[in-house]
């Protein structure tokens, strides 16, 4: 019983960590990108400032939009958040470990992407259409890439050992490969325009 309570506490702690550190990782990625382009880039706390500012703003919704447009932010947030919670970022024993594996994480991000794309088509603007077309093109090709990355041990030589190792880490929950997924997955949607295609 005490163990379960501990597990849940760790799980909640990790969820909060992922949630609160996601803007930091976005800014970090922007900083690194800027560095490669010989710019200074925004500060590391810029992601938090952006969110704070966006939260204070009023909303403008197109008269052509339907409920899809209004629900999309919540669907995207919760799908991405759950994907991040399943992935063990630092905790080894998680209450959410049984929910799924790398596959469900990838497809949960797919749920977020699906709604982002249909919301883009919802307002009737050609810019929204352009964005969602691009997003789906990149992501449908990229998802294969994501999977390749998740399953990369199978391309290695010492096949069996690595394979078993990979499965052990997904099963037990201590997963190093999980971190890049989190870094890639969360800022996708909290950070705005940085699609997975742009990040790669």
């Amino acid at each position: 019983m005490e163990f379960l309570a501990q597990k849940i506490a760790i799980g909640i702690g990790q969820a909060l960590f992922v949630l609160l550190s996601a803007p930091l990782f976005t800014s970090l990625m922007k900083k690194v990108k800027a560095h490669f382009q010989c710019r200074f880039g925004p500060g590391l706390l810029q992601g938090y400032y952006d969110i704070w500012k966006l939260l204070k703003k009023d909303a403008v919704i197109s008269e052509h939009a339907s409920w899809v447009f209004k629900t999309t932010p919540y669907v995207v947030f919760s799908a991405t958040f759950i994907a991040a919670v399943i992935v063990p970022s630092f905790a080894v024993v998680l209450p959410t470990a049984g929910i799924g594996d790398a596959i469900i994480v990838i497809y949960l991000l797919g749920l977020a992407r699906f709604f982002t794309a249909i919301a883009g088509l919802d307002t009737g603007s050609s810019f929204g259409g352009m964005g969602s077309s691009r997003e789906m093109m990149i992501s449908s090709l990229c998802r294969t890439g994501y999977d390749d990355r998740a399953f990369c041990p199978c391309r290695c030589r010492r096949f069996d050992r690595l394979w078993r190792h990979y499965h052990k880490i997904t099963r037990d929950g201590a997963c190093v490969t999980g971190l890049p997924l989190t870094v890639h997955g969360v800022p996708d949607y909290s950070g705005g325009g940085d699609g997975p295609g742009a990040g790669r």
Binding site: A59, I82, I104, Y107, M136, S140, C154
Partner: protein, 674 residues
């Protein structure tokens, strides 16, 4: 008990076949009657199959004995019962949906014949999957093909429909010829037509004959299932039929091909060599990818859905192929997992494809068009249809927590068992299925963003779409049943999966039932320990987190929401023509995969004085039909050339024919003389 329900199924379909014809001239009576009996039969079918699946012994109903071909007995063993369940679930929803749809589609024509054929078609489907005698299997198979042909050509005055029907008829009959060969070869070897005899004689089959039987069974059954390259009839015939029949054909009928293949492979031809499985797996991967790619470029919603059937048959066949590979190496648990994945995806596909075709039917019902480029804005005019179509789209794109994801997850798990295989090169080929399946899922999601987004969202692109109205309640109920099943089989997958698992155990020696059962969490043993997934928890978490985020963002107090027109770069008014079209949406992928599509386009600009001020621009684009041109056209050309040569003897000259008669006479005399 089970027998009683099964007899009710058969009798209700028979009454449903005869009774509508009695009220031939009155559509108000014959349409409801036909579908009411189909509904009763489907309900009884669900009960019978569930009873048979949970009961221990197989149920057999004998209809009439024949001294030559053996008794026609219909038996419900695990596999048959599972297919009966699939058929009955879809036909239940379709029969509820069909009445108002048929009233409008038939118009002034009598729908009595159609209603009779509808029941006969469903009856033949049920009999095909339950009969245990090769002779009657072929008879019912033919009955199924012919009744479905007549259902397809209901709208026979349209030239495309007639042509699609003819192509369907020809292709499935070529397929039937192959099936006939394999079944006759089996019965000659076994010395009888009964399936039990085939099963008993399988051990003594010589390898060469076994391979021949397998190849012809694969060709025959995959024609029906729509596996690439034998799929060309499918995207033409399915859209030509009335939508509720398309739902049955795409959801259920093509599955009989898979039923036949599973039956022949695991019941009559085991043990199987591994290369059979590899062949199936490779064909399946090609089908899955090409199916979804062609679907992506399709803007006729029913053709789009038909191409998705090619894709999903590919995914199902991946499981079948893997099961053959694993069982040939003796990895029983892995084979069991693969076949379970195939069966589970089969029933899931039947459900979500049924839902989507019914949705397409509703769109056609209220707008009169299938072309999504003319639609738009339907979510405000048909809100319930839109929500249900969205559920179907999410399910087919393998998005959690719906059923499509659950079975694709199982398929992923079975591919990942490849590490059991000792041979590294084979292992790597099998593992190619992982990126293939991932690419398929990604492209399917793109395709359904297009299909849903362009059809239902933003502004209507035509007058017809602007005047659309929600469809009548029975049609909504039919779709809602399937929509609920999409969710139920997703979140309830741990409860449901033991059923296909149990069905699969009968094909492998030493197979065991599912080791652990937990209604919340699906936990499967695999070569690395176990894999687990819980869509129920995912769904619950999604709901909780969404609600929490709604509440949390609401805590800051009400923020003002302004509603205004979409920004349009300062042009006075947003018009539907400014929106993204389906063709534009998929253009990037058309360029990425241009090697496969080989797109052709024609742009004609008409201008008077200067080319900078065109009067009109016409744009036409098409894809190069690779299979039709490269494979079928050549085959047909060869056939025609041979026929021309054969025509030499038919010159039409009466003297020549007299000479033939004379020559025949002389030859016969010579024979008699000796």
């Amino acid at each position: 008990m089970t027998e009683a329900f099964f007899v009710v199924v058969l009798v209700a379909y028979l009454i449903g076949t005869v009774l509508p014809l009695v009220f031939y001239s009155n559509n108000r009576i014959n349409i409801p009657i036909a579908h009411a009996f189909a509904l009763i039969a489907s309900g009884a079918g669900i009960i019978a199959s569930v009873l048979a699946l949970t009961g221990a012994t197989a149920v057999t109903v004998t209809i009439f004995p024949s001294p030559v071909f053996g008794a026609t007995s219909l038996s419900l063993d695990g596999l048959s019962a599972f297919f009966l369940l699939t058929i009955s679930l879809v036909s239940l929803a379709v029969s509820i949906y069909a009445t108002p749809y048929m009233v409008k589609t038939a118009g002034k024509r009598s729908a009595a014949g159609f209603g009779a054929l509808y029941n006969l078609f469903l009856l033949s489907l049920v009999m095909v999957v339950t009969v245990d005698n090769a002779f009657y299997f072929v008879v019912f198979w033919e009955l199924m093909t012919l009744t479905s042909y007549f259902l397809v050509v209901f709208d026979y005055k349209k030239i495309q429909t007639a042509r699609a029907g003819f192509q369907y008829l020809v292709m499935t009959h070529v397929g039937t010829a192959f099936i006939l060969f394999s079944l006759i070869a089996l019965s000659v070897h076994a010395g009888g037509f009964s399936f039990a005899g085939f099963k008993a004689a399988q051990a003594s089959l010589p390898m060469g004959l076994k391979n021949a039987i397998f190849i012809s069974a694969l060709l025959g059954f995959s024609t029906k299932a729509g596996l690439v390259p034998l799929h060309v009839w499918l995207p033409r015939a399915h859209p030509a039929a009335p939508s509720h029949v398309s739902a049955l054909m795409s959801g259920v009928m093509i599955k009989t091909g898979i039923y036949g293949l599973i039956r022949v492979l695991f019941d009559f031809l085991s043990p199987t060599p591994w290369w059979w499985g590899l062949l199936i797996l490779i064909l399946a991967m090609v089908s899955a990818i090409l199916g979804v790619m062609y679907a992506l470029m399709e803007h006729d919603i029913k053709r789009l859905l038909a191409f998705h059937s090619v894709e999903n048959v590919g995914i199902i066949m991946m499981g079948v192929g893997l099961a053959v590979i694993f069982s040939s190496f003796g990895f029983v648990p892995a084979a069991l997992l693969s076949l379970t994945a195939a069966l589970f995806h089969l029933i899931n596909h039947a459900i979500f494809k049924g839902l989507l075709f019914l949705g397409a039917g509703s769109i056609q019902y209220s707008t009169g068009t299938k072309n999504i480029e003319e639609l738009g804005g339907l979510i405000k005019r048909m809100p319930t249809t839109a929500a249900l179509f969205l559920i179907g789209s999410l399910a087919i794109s393998a998005i959690p927590p719906f059923n499509g994801f659950a079975s694709e997850w199982l398929t992923f798990q079975s591919i990942l068992q490849a590490n059991l295989i000792g041979d590294v090169s084979l292992q790597l080929i099998v593992l190619l299925a992982v990126p293939a399946l991932a690419l398929t899922g990604g492209l399917a999601a793109t395709c359904f963003v297009k299909a849903f987004g362009i059809t239902f969202l933003s502004l209507p692109r035509s007058e017809r779409a602007a005047n659309a109205k929600e469809v009548p309640v029975p049609m909504l109920v039919g779709m809602a049943i399937l929509g609920l099943l999409c969710l139920a089989l997703g979140v309830g997958s741990p409860v449901f999966i033991p059923i296909p698992w149990h069905v699969a155990t009968s094909f492998f020696n030493g197979a065991s039932e599912m080791p652990s059962f937990n209604p919340l969490l699906l936990r499967l043993p695999n070569s690395q320990g176990h894999a687990s997934m819980s869509l129920l928890l995912v769904a619950a978490l999604l709901a909780v987190v969404s609600l929490a985020s709604v509440v949390l963002t609401g805590l800051r107090g009400k923020r003002s929401v302004t509603t205004g027109p979409t920004w349009d770069c300062g042009i006075p008014e947003v018009t539907p023509r400014m929106q993204y079209s389906a063709a534009a949406f998929t253009r990037p992928l058309k360029i990425v995969f241009s090697a496969i599509y080989q797109p052709r386009r024609q742009v004609e600009v008409e201008s008077e004085a200067s080319p900078y001020f065109p009067l009109s621009i016409s744009y036409e684009s098409s894809l190069y039909p690779v299979f039709e041109r490269q494979l079928y056209r050549r085959f047909i050309n060869t056939l025609v050339r041979m026929a021309r040569r054969a025509r030499m003897i038919q010159a039409g000259n009466i003297n020549l024919y007299l000479a033939y008669i004379f020559a025949t006479l002389v030859i016969l005399l010579v024979f008699v003389w000796r």
